[in-house]
């Protein structure tokens, strides 16, 4: 048994230039004693939800996701004595979760504007963290196959330019991979906007890859709104990565005056261990 509050020394919050990405692999988390420690971290409402899931596998996955969010945020030790169990969350008008800091009016200095976003596949759960910028994260399994025909799906949901880009790829496997990566970029953007799926329907904007000058700091990915330009903001930047050799991930956050995104990736088993995987510039 170990105390959760002093397991590790506090981690510095991401600077304005940084994005932190934490991820866990449910397959590596097997012991019932650890899973029940995770249950102990949850709010009553979260426990109700977890216990309402009938499949053990899905229940475990949902549990690990909550444990990941709680332990990750508390790793930054914002305010003294913050434990994973004590964190409170609320949802914004569109259902996007946010942290509520207790008595934030009494804080001097005020609590940092920490943003986080969670993405969930059955085999990997990721949590992105930023300060002062909304963030969207999406992960998908690299090997994931589509039940629908890719181009039919793209024609239904993506923009014309994106359909053209995908149609031009003759190798079906490469097409499938590029489709999945494009999906994660679009989903990360919509999640960063925080307005829900209908706030930015996928066919109202194009993700465009500019032909890159290798010396340029620009990541080369930009948003091109197709309608109501004032509704869809474009001062966002993206990072694309592969996690664990098994997943594509996309991160979207506000632009940083032209500097490309610096991402620090950590793989973690909540309450047990964490490991910096890479720092990506």
């Amino acid at each position: 048994m170990f105390s959760t509050s002093n397991l590790f020394s506090p981690i510095k919050l991401p600077s304005q230039m940084e994005t932190h990405l934490w991820y866990s692999l449910p397959n590596e988390i097997k012991t019932e004693s650890l899973l029940s420690q995770y249950v102990d971290l949850l709010s009553p409402l979260e426990k109700d939800h977890i216990f309402s899931i009938s499949s053990h596998e899905l229940q475990k996955s949902a549990l690990i996701a909550r444990a990941l969010v709680r332990t990750t945020i508390s790793r930054y030790q914002i305010g003294s004595q913050v434990s994973p169990r004590s964190l409170e969350f609320k949802k914004n008008a569109h259902g996007k979760p946010e942290v509520i800091w207790q008595n934030s009016d009494d804080w001097h200095p005020p609590p940092p504007r920490l943003h986080f976003n969670l993405s969930h596949t059955s085999s990997l759960i990721a949590c992105g963290v930023t300060v002062d910028s909304p963030i969207g994260v999406d992960v998908e399994e690299k090997q994931r196959t589509m039940k629908n025909n890719i181009l039919s799906f793209a024609k239904r949901y993506f923009s014309c330019e994106e359909v053209e880009l995908l149609s031009a790829i003759s190798d079906p496997e490469v097409q499938r991979q590029e489709f999945i990566k494009l999906w994660t970029l679009k989903e990360a953007y919509v999640k960063a906007l925080g307005r829900g799926f209908s706030g930015a329907p996928f066919n109202t904007f194009t993700i465009r890859f500019s032909s890159m000058n290798p010396d340029s700091e620009d990541s080369g990915i930009m948003i091109v709104p197709l309608e109501n330009p004032s509704d869809l903001t474009t001062n966002w930047q993206f990072a694309q990565l592969e996690l664990g050799g098994s997943h594509y991930a996309a991160i979207c956050r506000e632009s940083n005056g032209g500097a490309s995104m610096k991402v620090i990736v950590r793989k973690t088993i909540p309450l047990v261990e964490e490991q910096i995987i890479s720092e990506i510039n």
Binding site: H49, L58, P97, L118, S119, D138, E140, R156, G196, S198
Partner: protein, 133 residues
């Protein structure tokens, strides 16, 4: 009141702004407060809608099962929440597309966002089918 629908903040699924429905032998009573309404809060609008036919619910369950490749021991019913069945964002949109093709309808993003359970999907399908009939 928004019930906790899942750990992942999927852009697609968001909690509905309405109270949990009560089933009374085939009829579903849904009451909700419209925050944009000028009516006083005490004047709540009641909408009585017929729950979707069991065949529609079953067809939706089949499509969901297929999309998510669910093992036989996982039960899917009208009350099943997509997020709780392990559907990620791409799964959910694939399911919606599968429903569009199976039922010959088009589901706009605004409507798709309100679907949290199999029953929601079935009800929406019947509503859209009625419209085009």
């Amino acid at each position: 009141m928004a019930s906790f629908t899942g750990a992942s903040s999927s852009a697609l699924i968001s909690p509905r702004q309405c109270l949990a429905p009560t089933k009374i032998s085939g009829l579903k009573l849904v009451s909700f407060s419209n925050s944009r309404s000028n009516l006083p809060l005490s004047f709540r609008r009641l909408q009585v809608s017929c729950a979707a036919k069991p065949e529609t619910v079953e067809k939706v369950c089949d499509i969901v099962r297929k999309q998510l490749a669910l093992k036989d021991d996982i039960s899917v019913s009208g009350e099943s929440k997509f997020a709780a069945l392990g559907a990620d964002s791409l799964d959910t949109v694939e399911i919606v597309m599968g429903l569009e093709e199976a039922f010959g309808i088009t589901v706009e993003e605004e409507s798709a966002q309100t679907i949290a359970t199999v029953q929601d999907a079935a009800d929406l399908i019947e509503k859209l089918c009625e419209k085009s009939a």
